[in-house]
Symmetry: C2
Subunit: 239 residues, 2 copies
């Protein structure tokens, strides 16, 4: 059931080597930039240009892309379309991943309706909640089911990615259920550290946590005196 009719090029012996975590985290950024370039009808791009647009340096771009294979042309740059395709393929975005959302509260509903999910090869095949009052309401085109049905949904729809959008005090239960049902990757919006078996992937999105980091930086800035403008007005993308 490897859907999607086999593509033309792909690779002879797909290396399928592990891409370093740090580089992996930047691939989606490059991808988004490349997509914009396509809209702009730009067909070639150099590592230097990509680097500027991604606010990193050119060596990093080249190194990152080199993990995928050698898809550039020396003296020229990268073909935007081709590179786009290769990154998508590497990330597994040429197939459509079913995801299930646990928690049909404000956040869960927002996520189910979030176009960013469906636009990129993901589609929500289920939303569950413990609260029976929410059952059978339709959110983002999907009917809310009871949490007890989670396992059945995961298995029948072959779900391998779960999103936890429950309150903190139910998040671990949600994770346990997801893992038991066979999900291999979890995106966690609850502000707790999930305890999962080795091999299960968790990514955490935590607004308050990020804000606290900004708070630290702002405190440093203020203590360093001079809340006002620093006079530093270079707008190069260094960072």
């Amino acid at each position: 059931m490897r859907a999607l009719g086999n593509s033309v090029w792909v690779m002879s012996d797909t290396p399928r080597r592990k891409i370093p975590e740090a580089a992996l985290g930047r691939l989606p950024i490059y991808l988004r930039i490349l997509t914009d370039l396509i809209v702009n009808e730009t067909s070639q791009v150099s590592s230097e240009q990509l680097a500027d647009l991604a606010a990193v340096n050119a060596a990093k771009v080249r190194k990152d892309l080199s993990y995928l294979g050698t898809y550039g042309t020396r003296g020229v740059g990268y073909d935007v379309q081709y590179l786009t395709y290769q990154i998508q393929r590497e990330l597994g975005l040429n197939q459509s991943w079913p995801v299930v959302i646990v928690g049909a509260g404000n956040l869960g509903q927002a996520l189910a309706n979030f176009s960013g999910i469906t636009e990129r090869g993901f589609h929500v095949v289920g939303i569950v909640d413990k609260d029976t009052s929410k059952l059978e309401t339709v959110v983002g085109g999907v009917r809310v089911k009871h949490a007890d049905e989670l396992s059945q949904i995961v298995q029948s729809k072959n779900v391998s990615i779960g999103i936890i959008a429950t309150p903190a005090d139910h998040a671990q239960d949600a994770a346990d259920s997801l893992v038991k049902a066979g999900v291999g990757s979890i995106m966690n919006f609850a502000p707790i550290v999930l305890n999962v078996p080795a091999g299960v992937n968790v990514r955490k999105v935590d607004l308050a946590l990020e804000l606290q980091i900004l708070s630290y930086y702002e405190q440093c800035r203020h203590e360093g005196r001079g809340i006002g403008s620093t006079g530093d007005h270079s707008d190069s993308v260094s960072a």
Copy 2:
């Protein structure tokens, strides 16, 4: 209880040295755990316990905490209350940071109403939008103002943290306005890379990006054959 009772601890000669980025990112996690421990009426905690709860190892916890100063007791562990206080102080959470939200769409409104913001020393002092139809509606207790008033709000309320919740195509404008108005840190929910002057802090929250990373891992898993249970059932907290 003995902590922060008698004297005005704190400073002495606070080095205010830069905490390494990686360690900084974990402090809010420890903080959240410590808060839970307080609720649980736990008064002492060892690096080992903290490590388990945070899903990292004990050496990392100790090293991270050592950047703050030496607040533990050898042979005993850390006093939960005291350590909590010290982390909060270090992160600047003992003051209340005014933040401004740019974009009063679904996301902006959700953020304005998000309790996680106000619960931790942040408070929304302004929401602006370009869309005049949204003006003067009240969201999260704050009246939506026109984007033109952003600068005035930032300056009158001494805002140093801005949140960008606009569509992608307005995000750079929003960032420019924020920076020009004097904001030093930006949390960006728009799926683009912001171009800001050096010295301005940006943190990006991007759901689609995170999902794409999970997609990669799932693809690896599936290719490595065996979608089903890996048999790997250790539930130790190793990542």
